[in-house]
């Protein structure tokens, strides 16, 4: 590619930190900026930030997607924040707080022995371009849900 070459590189990793597995997993999704440049991510609380995170639960050959339920907005503004290089950003989650939905009841989907994957997907948009928000998709490594009683 011709032209200016950036001296910075973007490198991101995503992981799930489960703090509680009962009755449904709760914890944080952690985005680590391991690159040399700051990146911008959407804040939650608006239609841009509330739709970037989802989960996939796999058991055997079946995979079910879990998404956040539509939220009520009164001030719906795309709001972003910077994640400096070498730092992390956490999104707390609780699949049991009634804010998540799937094609089947979560209690039947998120069961011991299943594998949970977090997906961070930011589609391109004029707002993302305006604010320099990183766009793309990354996935966490699977987390095996606890089999112990």
């Amino acid at each position: 590619m011709k032209g200016h070459k950036s001296m910075h590189h973007v490198s991101l990793t995503l992981q799930i930190e489960v703090r509680s597995g009962r009755p449904l997993p709760a914890g944080s999704i952690v985005l680590d900026n391991t690159g040399s440049a700051p990146i911008r991510v959407w804040r939650t609380g608006n239609q841009w930030g509330d739709t970037v995170l989802s989960f996939e639960v796999s058991r055997g050959d079946d995979t079910v997607r879990i998404v956040r339920q539509p939220q009520v907005y009164t001030r719906n503004v795309p709001s972003s924040l910077a994640v400096p290089p070498g730092t992390r950003h956490e999104w707390p989650f609780d699949l049991g707080d009634g804010q998540w939905q799937a094609d089947a009841p979560l209690e039947q989907v998120v069961v011991p022995g299943a594998q949970l994957v977090a997906v961070y997907n930011v589609p391109p948009s004029p707002e993302a371009k305006d604010q320099g928000v990183w766009t793309g998709e990354i996935r966490s490594k699977p987390v095996l849900l606890d089999k112990s009683p």
């Binding site: 804040r43 939650t44 609380g45 608006n46 239609q47 339920q69 539509p70 939220q71 009520v72 907005y73 009164t74 001030r75 719906n76 503004v77 795309p78 709001s79 707002e127 305006d130 604010q131």
Partner: protein
């Protein structure tokens, strides 16, 4: 439109006799507070007179209009009168049950005028004042259309306001003194459907049919130039000067909102904008008309227990 209010007596140099009158400021204070006097002393009366004549007869609302003001001793009365008349209500439909919240002061009822001239007030000590050139306005106005897509309802509208600059007024008109606020009120049908306020940014004790300053779940709010509630975003919540974002001093406000929720949402939201003067105790300077979003009606309640008719008695032969 420009305006020019020339009050030659007020701009004449104050005599020493007048300066000793109770309520009048000493000449030294007048020098500090009245730029017209300063201009006269610097340029001479004729030069200032020419400058004033050039502006005579021009429109009233030009943000750069040169306005002569009374000398220091009359500032208090003038400021009071100006304050009473410059609080504009664009639509005149401010409701009577508003506002209740932090940083929100209700606008005076439309058309409310004092029964008698306001008493003289102390000279203003503010280093600036907010002057609203236009707005605040919503586009569209009135009832906002609702769209449903992908299992969500949404209504989109934009906001606008402009503010004046005039350094020769007392206090000077400074756009940085003007800040926009958006207020929201939801009705009982929505509150019942939701089981409380719209989201966690509002206190759980928030009630229906009450005006609150709008916010998101992070307690970010429209129009705050700085501070913990400030969250400027290009095209959605920003101040500009000459088309360039200027959060601190911008003379133009531009905003956009797209409230919404699940397709099952019912009830009504109402919004209203106000411009407040942060240099003068957050006084409300202008208000927009109220816009209304009807999310839909709740499903009809089941009919009250209708008991089936008692079986007909067996027919007797």
């Amino acid at each position: 439109m420009r305006t020019f209010a020339y009050k030659p007596r007020a701009t004449q140099p104050t005599t020493s006799a007048k300066s000793t009158t109770p309520g009048l400021a000493p000449v030294g204070q007048a020098r500090d507070r009245n730029p017209i006097l300063n201009l006269q002393r610097t340029l001479g009366n004729q030069a200032v007179q020419r400058l004033l004549e050039e502006n005579r007869g021009k429109g009233k609302d030009d943000s750069t209009a040169l306005q002569a003001q009374p000398a220091a001793g009359a500032i208090g009365r003038s400021a009071t009168a100006a304050g009473a008349t410059s609080t504009r209500n664009v639509s005149g439909d401010v409701s009577q049950d508003e506002v209740v919240t932090t940083n929100g002061t209700p606008a005076p009822a439309p058309g409310a005028t004092p029964a008698s001239p306001p008493p003289p007030a102390a000279p203003s000590t503010a280093d600036g004042q907010c002057y609203v050139n236009s707005g605040p306005t919503y586009t569209p106005s009135g009832a906002i259309p609702v769209t449903t897509s992908g299992g969500r309802k949404r209504a989109t509208f934009s906001m606008a306001a402009t503010f004046g600059t005039a350094l020769v007024t007392v206090p000077p008109r400074r756009p940085r003194c003007c800040e926009v606020r958006q207020y929201i009120k939801w009705d009982s049908a929505f509150h019942t459907w939701r089981g409380g306020p719209p989201h966690s940014g509002f206190p759980s004790s928030a009630t229906a049919n009450t005006w609150y300053e709008d916010r998101d779940t992070s307690d970010k709010r429209y129009g705050h130039r700085s501070g913990p509630h400030s969250d400027p975003a290009p095209g959605f919540d920003e101040y500009l000067t000459g088309g360039t974002q200027d959060q601190a001093n911008g003379d133009t406000y531009r905003g956009s909102d797209a409230p919404g929720g699940p397709a099952s949402m019912v009830g009504q939201f109402q919004f209203q904008l106000k411009v407040i003067d942060t240099c003068n105790g957050d006084a409300v300077k202008a208000s927009s008309g109220i816009i209304t979003i009807n999310w839909g009606s709740p499903p009809p309640a089941p009919a009250p227990g209708v008991t089936p008719p008692s079986p007909a008695p067996p027919a007797t032969p």
